[in-house]
C-alpha cells in the first residue's frame, strides 16, 4: 500500500512537471493572461473604483462573489468545528488546581459541591498546562494592543497597501489567541465570550451579503457598490471604494471570530474550560 502511494505521488508529480512545459514563463508579457485581462484591470481599476491597490479592487469588487463565498467557507469551517467538538457543560473537569497568588503554592481540589476556598487569594490554573511566567504575561499584555491596532490598520488601509479583511481579521484573531496562550483560555473567553464569537461570525457574513442585497434592492446588480452612491451621498466611483471598505470590515469580523472560535474549540476539546 505504501509503495502504491509512492508510485501515485511520483506519477502525479511527473504529470505536473510535464504540464509545466506548456505554461508561459514567469512574468511573460505575451502570455494570454497578461495580454487582455491584466491590462484591463491595471488601466481601468483606479478610475472605476478609486482604489489604488488593484488586488483589493479585484478581490472585493470585480470578483466580489468569490470573496463572499470564501467568507462563507470560513464561517462554515467555524460552525463545523463547533458541531464536531463542542461538548455540553456537564462534562467538566473532575480535578481542579488552584494557585495561591501570594506564595505560588498550588493545590489540587477534587470534585465537590462547593469550593472551600477564599477565592480572592487563589487563581484557577489548568491541570495539564499551567505556565506562570511574569515576563511572558507582561510582554504579551503590552504587545496585544499594538497587534490589534496593526490589524485594524491592515483592514482599514487595504485600499492603499497590501492587506484587507482576511489578513487583518486573522491578525486580530491571532492577538486574542495570543492572550489565550500567554494567560489561559478563561481569560481570553472573559474578554470575548463564546456567544460573541458565534454571533460575530454570521454578522460578518451578513454584512457582506447584506451589502450585496442592498445594491440589489436599489435596482443594481448584486454587489454592484455603485448603488450605494444614493445612500452615502457620494459619486458612484467613491461609493465603490466605500463599498469595498464595508465588505472588508465584514470579512474581518467573520474571520476574526472564526479563528478564535476554532482555536478555543480545538484547544479545550470543546469544553471551554481548560485550554492550551
Amino acid at each position: 500500500m505504501r509503495a502504491l502511494g509512492i508510485i501515485v505521488v511520483i506519477l502525479t508529480g511527473a504529470v505536473l512537471l510535464y504540464a509545466l512545459g506548456d505554461f508561459p514563463s514567469w512574468a511573460d508579457p505575451t502570455s494570454p493572461a497578461h495580454k487582455h485581462v491584466s491590462p484591463a484591470y491595471i488601466e481601468k481599476s483606479l478610475e472605476q473604483t478609486s482604489v489604488p491597490n488593484i488586488v483589493t479592487a479585484v478581490l472585493a469588487d470585480y470578483r466580489g462573489y468569490d470573496t463572499m463565498f470564501e467568507t462563507t467557507v470560513i464561517f462554515g469551517a467555524g460552525v463545523v468545528c463547533f458541531f464536531l467538538l463542542r461538548t455540553p457543560r456537564k462534562d467538566r473537569a473532575r480535578v481542579r488546581r488552584y494557585r495561591h497568588v501570594l506564595t505560588g503554592m498550588t493545590i489540587r481540589v477534587k470534585e465537590t459541591r462547593k469550593t472551600p476556598l477564599v477565592l480572592e487569594e487563589f487563581e484557577r490554573i489548568d491541570t495539564l498546562w499551567a505556565p506562570h511566567d511574569l515576563i511572558i504575561k507582561t510582554a504579551c499584555r503590552i504587545l496585544i494592543p499594538f497587534i490589534q491596532l496593526f490589524a485594524l490598520y491592515v483592514i482599514a488601509h487595504g485600499h492603499h497597501s497590501p492587506g484587507g479583511g482576511f489578513q487583518g481579521g486573522v491578525i486580530l484573531g491571532a492577538s486574542l489567541i495570543l492572550l489565550a496562550i500567554s494567560h489561559d483560555l478563561r481569560t481570553a473567553l472573559g474578554r470575548m465570550s463564546e456567544r460573541l464569537h458565534a454571533i460575530l461570525c454570521p454578522i460578518g457574513v451578513f454584512i457582506y451579503a447584506g451589502t450585496g442585497a442592498l445594491c440589489l434592492a436599489l435596482g443594481f446588480n448584486f454587489l454592484d457598490y455603485g448603488a450605494l452612491a444614493r445612500i452615502l451621498h457620494v459619486d458612484p466611483v467613491t461609493a465603490r471604494s466605500h463599498g469595498i471598505l464595508i465588505v472588508e470590515i465584514g470579512v474581518g469580523l467573520a474571520v476574526m471570530a472564526t479563528m478564535v472560535w476554532i482555536y478555543s474549540n480545538i484547544s479545550s476539546k470543546g469544553k471551554y474550560d481548560e485550554g492550551l
Partner: protein, 81 residues
C-alpha cells in the same frame, strides 16, 4: 529576482515539505509545516505577490500552526505509522 536566493528558498521549501511528512513527532511536523508556509511566503514576496505573501504569513505560518499545535496538545504527539 535573485536566482541564488530563489534557489535557496526553493530548496528549503522541498526540504521542509519532505520533513513535515517524514518526521514521526507530530509537534515537529507542525513546526516544519509552519516553516514551509514561511518559505512559501518569502517566495510569494520575491515574485511580487505581496497580498498573497501577507495572507500566507498570517494564515499559513501563524494561525494554522497554532491550530496544529493545539490539536497535537489535545491528541497525541506520536504518529502510528
Amino acid at each position: 529576482m535573485i536566482w541564488q536566493l530563489d534557489l535557496a528558498i526553493l530548496t528549503l521549501v522541498v526540504v521542509t515539505a519532505i520533513g513535515a511528512i517524514a518526521v514521526k513527532d507530530l509537534l515537529g511536523s507542525a513546526i516544519l509545516f509552519g516553516a514551509y508556509s514561511f518559505m512559501m511566503c518569502l517566495l510569494w514576496s520575491i515574485m511580487g505577490a505581496v497580498d498573497v505573501a501577507f495572507t500566507e504569513a498570517s494564515v499559513g505560518a501563524g494561525v494554522s500552526t497554532v491550530f496544529f499545535v493545539a490539536a497535537v496538545f489535545r491528541t497525541t504527539r506520536r504518529t502510528k505509522d
